[in-house]
């Protein structure tokens, strides 16, 4: 059986890589768009097989455990639906001449490389390998963000590149410090970078070094998560890139960076003398929530607005993991899954809206529920979900975050709830303009497939009403692991 297990991990990594090579070589966008979907679907199926198969013993490079299976499954699922959306989106971009056939080849190849890099980061058992994977993911997304080559796109890509590289550099410094802390205990060589080995022996490490390392790692990977003082790249990168990439950035890449932070948080938590990582994460999370809540009011660009909402939600998730304990961790995990599903659904909708209207400016878009009822009402549902209204999934996870905060740190719940309400107000203010009232802007038909968007929204609704017990048990188990 062991041969098969390795293949599951191998397949998740090799399918995207092989597809990237193939897509770079093949001409013709219809064929390549379908191939892109097929490759993403195969990767998703391979990821699902991780649930049923026996797990391989952790090696010095790869690891499969309860925690990362959740992330990998979510990652490949949204990777698949985003490729479906991208197939319908990209045809329009080609016909309006925003992208050429060569760009499209490059785009599809990069899409698969990005999926590969994210899966690699999630499956890595080696902190060096994890860093390399996050770096590859960053570089590919920089290229994707700049793909339209307009003034704004280049500016966004440049900003993302500079800030992302600085973050990545700080994360590497933190990784080196972890190795320096591990080396006297574990010995020289590869073993001192293997996460499963580190976590067993971490109690013997020099705690001062670990503390310093965590600060660098939190700042470094935190830049990629988009936490508040380090978020400047995020809105521009979301607004100027192709919309499928905005969906993947918000729904997946931010999670991958957060996953890296979580792995190191676990290391710190296992060392009795090290500083508690919680307060640092709580602070950054809270700042993000409140800051993004206020920033939402000033947005004039629809994609930038939802990008700020992503900052807010990553803040909530970081906050929840910072509070810690089984309930808050459970809430954080659930919130992460719900946010990824909802936010990517919103971006799918926004992509179609921007194509119909030919603009992303909020004031030039209006009355969507009248002119495009399917799209307009989906947007209303999506925004209601992201704002945290019942009975949708995010309401439940936000409720759990707030109630676990009340149980452990009642005072912190006040700024959190305040930030959430501020954000909610802004979202509905804008939604009112977008979805109701006098129709504004072009009213041409949408040549789009709504299936991915509605599938996500249905999942979010289902999760808000009824979570299947096996899923709850799984999440509880993972939440327990996170300490």
């Amino acid at each position: 059986m062991t041969g098969f297990e390795f293949n599951a991990v191998g397949a998740i990594l090799l399918i995207p890589l092989a597809a990237a090579g193939l897509l770079a070589a093949l001409p013709g966008y219809r064929l390549t768009a379908r191939l892109n979907v097929a490759a993403s679907l195969l990767t998703f199926i391979a990821a699902l097989s991780l649930f049923v198969a026996d797990r391989p013993a952790p090696g010095s490079y790869f690891l499969v455990d309860d925690l990362n299976i959740v992330f990998v499954a979510l990652n490949t699922f949204i990777g698949f639906t985003a490729s479906l959306f991208s197939a319908s989106y990209i045809g329009h971009e080609l016909s309006t001449g925003r992208l050429t056939a060569t760009h499209l080849r490059f785009y599809h190849a990069m899409y698969q490389v990005l999926l590969f890099a994210m899966n690699l980061a999630l499956l890595a058992n080696n902190i060096g390998l994890m860093w390399v994977a996050v770096e590859i993911a960053t570089l590919t997304t920089v290229l994707m963000v700049g793909i339209y080559r307009t003034h704004e796109a280049l500016e966004a890509a440049w900003k993302y590149f500079i800030l992302g590289s600085v973050g990545i550099a700080l994360a590497l410094f933190g990784t080196i410090l972890v190795y320096v802390a591990a080396q006297p205990v574990i010995g020289e060589g590869m073993q001192a970078m293997v996460w499963t080995v580190l976590i067993q022996r971490v109690s013997e490490f020099d705690s001062a070094l670990l503390n310093l390392a965590f600060v660098f790692l939190l700042l470094g990977y935190g830049t990629k998560v988009g936490l508040a003082p380090l978020h400047a790249w995020l809105p521009d990168a979301h607004a100027e890139g192709p919309t499928p990439i905005s969906a993947v950035l918000s729904g997946l890449l931010l999670n991958v960076a957060l996953y890296a932070v979580l792995r190191f948080k676990l290391l710190l938590a296992a060392n009795a003398n090290a500083l508690a990582p919680g307060p640092l994460m709580i602070t950054m999370g809270l700042i993000s929530v409140v800051f993004a809540g206020f920033m939402l009011y000033r947005r004039r660009d629809i994609k930038r607005m939802f990008a700020y909402s992503s900052i807010e939600h990553m803040g909530i998730i970081t906050f929840a993991f910072g509070i810690g304990g089984p309930l808050a961790n459970f809430a954080g995990l659930l919130h992460m899954v719900m946010h990824s599903l909802t936010k990517s659904a919103i971006f799918y909708g926004v992509g179609h809206i921007a194509q119909i209207k030919g603009t992303q400016r909020i004031e030039e878009i209006g009355g969507l529920t009248e002119t495009h009822p399917w799209l307009g009402w989906a947007l209303v549902c999506g925004v209601a979900a992201i704002a945290g209204l019942p009975p949708l999934g995010i309401f439940m996870s936000e409720f759990l975050v707030v109630s676990s905060t009340f149980a452990r740190e009642p005072l912190l719940a006040l700024p959190l709830v305040f930030g959430l309400l501020v954000g909610l107000g802004a979202l509905f203010l804008r939604l009112n303009r977008l979805a109701f009232g006098e129709p504004r802007g072009a009213t041409g038909p949408a040549e789009a497939s709504y299936a991915p968007m509605y599938a996500h929204l249905a999942l979010v609704l289902a999760a808000g009403i009824y979570l299947p017990p096996p899923l709850v048990a799984w999440f509880q188990n993972v939440a327990g692991l996170l300490g």
Partner: protein, 220 residues
């Protein structure tokens, strides 16, 4: 003998910090590139000396990469880009030289205080390397924030990466995978930058980042 090994390593790593300082006050692009090449050269020597002292032959590869790519290829290519773009005029610094140098000294002092205190139990050479490496990383960041020109920001970023290589080689027996990846990522990063610079040139005839910061209809 041990004393000599330590002293030379100390001198080289300290020299790297000094060269980082020299970069801070260069106000011409060509001069900045030349200093960067010197930075990479000193890095190559430092790494090679480590390889010799620790008897770790794989580090010679890292040294060779630093020498060939960072000290020769990248400066030459950037020279040509600058010449082609016609931007070899003065660099506009956002903050004056004096305050920048003072800030640089403050950052070096900070990293010494932090790293030396934290790594009290580590091996003395690794300790110093880490402290110097952090100074170089911080000086690189300072260079990036005080410049507006895209090319000099890139140079700042590359000097920052040099600091990371110093830290990686300073950590005893750190696996080669990481070192290669560091070098490799610089290469990739460089390609990316190259593409960017050309695109920027193609569209706007400027590489001044401030010129890219256009008003977007959103007050920020």
């Amino acid at each position: 003998m041990d004393r000599l090994v330590f002293d030379v390593a100390h001198m080289l790593a300290g020299g790297l910090v000094l060269v980082s300082f020299m970069m801070l006050y260069q106000d011409r692009l060509y001069a900045l590139l030349n200093i960067y090449a010197l930075h990479a050269l000193v890095l190559a020597l430092t790494v090679a000396w480590r390889a010799y002292a620790a008897d770790a032959p794989h580090l010679y590869a890292t040294a060779a990469i630093a020498l060939v790519f960072k000290a020769i290829v990248i400066p030459v290519v950037l020279h040509r880009i600058i010449a082609r773009l016609g931007i070899h005029r003065e660099i506009e610094t956002v903050v004056g030289i004096g305050p920048t140098m003072l800030a640089g000294m403050g950052l070096v002092a900070l990293s010494m205080v932090v790293m030396l205190r934290v790594t009290a139990q580590a091996d003395p050479l690794a300790r110093e390397d880490l402290a110097f490496a952090l100074s170089i990383v911080l000086l690189g960041l300072l260079l990036m924030v005080t410049r507006r020109n895209a090319v000099s920001q890139v140079v700042g970023f590359m000097s920052l990466e040099n600091g990371l290589v110093l830290a990686a080689t300073g950590a005893k027996g750190m696996p080669l995978v990481v070192e290669i990846s560091v070098a490799f990522s610089i290469l990739i990063a460089f390609i990316v930058i190259g593409i960017f610079l050309f695109r920027i040139r193609e569209r706007f005839d400027t590489v001044d980042v401030q010129a890219l910061d256009r008003h977007r209809g959103e007050r920020r």
